[in-house]
Amino acid sequence: MLTFTIRRLLLAIPTLLLISLVIFLLLELAPGDPMAQVPLTVPPEVKEKMRQALGLGEPVHIRYLKWIWQFFVIEPMNLIDAMFGTSLAEGQLRVISWQTRSPVMDIVAQRLPQTLWVVGVAYVVAVLIAIPIGVYSAYKQYSWFDQAGTFVTMVGFSVPPFFSGVLVIVIFSVNLGWFPSIYDTTHRVTDWDSFVVQLKQMIMPVMVLALQITSQISRFMRASMLDNLGQDYVRTARAKGMTESTVVLMHVLRNSMIPVVTVIALGIPSIFGGAIITEQVFKVNGIGQLLITAIQANDMPMVQTLTFIFAVLIVLFNLIADVLYGILDPRIRYD
C-alpha cells in the first residue's frame, strides 16, 4: 500500500509537469496581452517597456521554467512565510496577476473561503442527501420512490444553473424575501446570529449546486447498490437471520460505498474549482468567478495558476481515491 502510494506520487510528478506544460503552451497561444487593460492613451513604447517588466520579453522556455520555479518554490515559501512569519521568499518575484498587479496566490487565498463554504457545503449536503436516496431507490427498484427519485435527479441534471439559480432568487428573494439574492463575501461568522445570516445567504446557492451533485451521486449510489444487492453474500446474511436493515445498511451499503466513496473523492477537486455559473448567479465571488473574470480580462498568469492548481488537485484526489479504494476494500491490496 505504501509503495503503491509512493509510486503513484512519483508518477504524479511527470504527469503534472506535462500538464503544466500543456496548460502553459495553450495559454501561450491565447491572444492575451497584459497591456490589453492599459488604456489607449499610453504610448506603445511605454507598453513595450511595461511588458518587459513583467518578464514577457524572454523566450517561451525560460518563461515556462520561471513560472514552474515560481509556482513550486517561491509560492510555497511564501506560504511558509505567511504561516510562520519567516521571510524565506522575501524579494523573490511571485506570480503576478496582469489585471490587478498583485500576487495571484494572495487573491486565490482570498477567494478560497467563500468557495469552500458554498461549494463545499453543497457537496456535503448533496452527498448526505444522495446516499439515502440512492440506497432506497435501489432497495425498492422500480417503486414509485425510485421512479420519482430518477425523475427528480434527472431534472436536477437537466436544468442549467443559470436558470434554476435565477428561479430560486425570484422565488425566495424577490417574492418571499427570505434569503438575500447577493452573497456577502465580507460576512464573518462570529456568533449564532451571524451564523444564521451566513446560513441564509448560503441556502440558495447550496440548493442549486446540491441539486446537480445529488443527481450524479445518487444515480451512482443506486447503481452500486443494485450491483451488490444481487450478490451471494446478501443471501448469506439473510440466511443468518439478519434483519433487513442489517442486511441492507451493514452488508450491502458497506460494499456499495466503496466505489461511491472514490467517486465522491474524485469530485472534491471540483469544490475548489468552484462553480463558475452558480457563483456568477449568486455573486459568490469565489474561485469560479475569479477564473472567468481572469479569462475575460486575458489575465494569463491567473488563468495559468488556477488551471494548474485544479490539475494538481485532480491528480492528487485521483491518487487519494485509488488509495481509499485500497483501504476500503480489503480485497484490494496494491502490490
Binding site: T15, L16, L18, I19, V22, I23, L26, L27, L29, A30, P31, Q147, T150, F151, M154, V155, F157, S158, V159, P160, F162, F163, V166, L167, V170, V174, G230, G273, I276, I277, Q280, L291, I292, I295, Q296, V303, L306, T307, F310, A311, I314, V315, N318
Partner: protein, 327 residues
C-alpha cells in the same frame, strides 16, 4: 490460468437460463417445433419496451427530433424576422408561443434553436464517442499501447476542462469564424471542443470492457483460429462493447446540450442573434417575472430533451444488460 469450475447452480439465475435454452431445446429432435429465430436486438427491444420511462423518453425524443427537423418547413416564419409592432405578445394564433421583445416569433426561434442545440448534442456526442471508443479499444486490445494511452487519458482527465474550453473558444473562434462563417465556425468549435473534452469516460469504460472481453474465451477462440487483430476488433470486440458505448452516447447528448447552454451563459457560445435553446433561455432569464413563458419554453425543451435521452439511456442500460434482461 484459471481452472475454475463454473458449474454453478445459482438460484435466481435459474428461471433466466431456462427460457433461453427452451427455444432450441429439441436439438436432437428435429420433428418438434421451435420458435422462429430471434434477433437479439428484438430481445433488447422487448426489454426496452418494458421500461416505461425509456419508451416515453424515446417517443418524446423522436417527437422533438421531428419537430426541429421538419418543423421549420411547416412553421415557416423566419426566426430572425423582426415585427416590432408585435413585440412582447402572448400566445396568439399568429404566434402560438408569443413573440419576444423585438417581435420575433418564439415558436420559430424554438424550432431553429432546437435544431442547433440538438445538432450540437448529437455531433459532439458522436465525436466524443468516436474518440473514446477508438482510444478505449486500442488501449484495451493492444497491451503495449495501454500504458501510454491510459496516461494520455488520465492527462485529459486531470486537465481542468471548463477553463480550457473557454480559453480554446477564445483561441480558435476567429480563425474558424473566418473559414466557416460566424455560426459555422462556432458550431465546429463548440462541437469539437465538447467532443475533445468529454471522451475520457467512454474510453475508460470501453477499455475496461475490452480488457474483460479479451479474457473471454471467444476472443481466445478467435486467436486460436488465427484471426488478425483488426478483424478481431471489428468482429469480436466492437460489437460487444456496443452497449456501454450506447449508454455513454445518450449521456453525451445531454451533457453536450447543457454545456452549450453554459457556454452561451458565459458569453462563449454562438452569436447572440443565432438562436439556440441555451441562448433563448439565457436571454429570457432577466425577464423571467415579466414573461415567464419565455423561460418556460426553452427550459422545458432542454429539460425534456435531456430527460428523454437520459431515460433512453437508462432503458438501454437495462435492456443491454443480459443480467437484467431476463427479469
Amino acid at each position: 490460468m484459471t481452472d475454475t469450475d463454473d458449474r454453478r447452480d445459482d438460484v435466481p439465475a435459474e428461471p433466466a437460463a431456462n427460457p433461453a435454452g427452451a427455444g432450441a431445446a429439441p436439438a436432437l429432435d428435429p420433428a418438434s417445433t421451435y420458435r422462429a429465430p430471434r434477433n437479439q436486438w428484438l430481445d433488447v427491444w422487448d426489454q426496452f419496451k418494458s421500461h416505461r420511462g425509456a419508451l416515453i423518453g424515446a417517443a418524446v425524443f423522436i417527437l422533438i427530433l421531428l419537430a426541429v427537423t421538419i418543423g421549420p418547413y411547416i412553421w415557416t416564419i423566419d426566426p430572425t424576422y423582426i415585427d416590432i409592432r408585435a413585440k412582447n405578445q402572448g400566445p396568439t394564433l399568429a404566434h402560438p408561443l408569443g413573440t419576444d421583445q423585438l417581435g420575433r416569433d418564439t415558436l420559430s426561434r424554438m424550432l431553429a434553436g432546437g435544431r442547433v442545440s440538438i445538432a450540437v448534442g448529437l455531433t459532439a456526442m458522436a465525436l466524443s464517442i468516436l474518440i473514446g471508443t477508438v482510444i478505449g479499444v486500442i488501449a484495451g486490445y493492444f497491451k503495449r499501447l495501454d500504458g501510454p494511452l491510459m496516461r494520455f487519458t488520465d492527462l485529459f482527465l486531470a486537465l481542468p476542462l471548463l477553463p480550457l474550453l473557454l480559453v480554446a473558444v477564445l483561441l480558435f473562434r476567429d480563425m474558424l469564424s473566418k473559414t466557416f462563417g460566424p455560426e459555422g465556425g462556432v458550431f465546429i468549435l463548440i462541437v469539437s471542443l465538447i467532443g475533445i473534452t468529454s471522451w475520457m469516460q467512454t474510453a475508460r469504460i470501453v477499455r475496461g470492457d475490452v480488457l474483460a472481453l479479451k479474457e473471454r474465451e471467444f476472443v481466445l477462440a478467435g486467436r486460436s483460429i488465427g484471426t488478425p487483430s483488426r478483424r478481431m476488433i471489428t468482429r469480436h470486440i466492437l460489437p460487444n462493447v456496443l452497449s456501454p458505448i450506447m449508454v455513454s452516447a445518450t449521456l453525451g447528448i445531454a451533457t453536450a446540450i447543457i454545456t452549450e447552454s453554459a457556454l452561451s451563459f458565459l458569453g462563449f457560445g454562438f452569436p447572440p442573434d443565432f438562436p439556440t435553446w441555451g441562448r433563448l433561455l439565457f436571454d429570457s432569464v432577466d425577464r423571467m417575472q415579466l414573461y415567464p413563458e419565455r423561460v418556460i419554453w426553452p427550459g422545458l425543451a432542454i429539460s425534456l430533451t435531456v430527460l428523454s435521452v437520459n431515460y433512453i439511456g437508462d432503458g438501454l442500460r437495462d435492456a443491454l444488460d443480459p443480467r437484467i434482461r431476463g427479469r
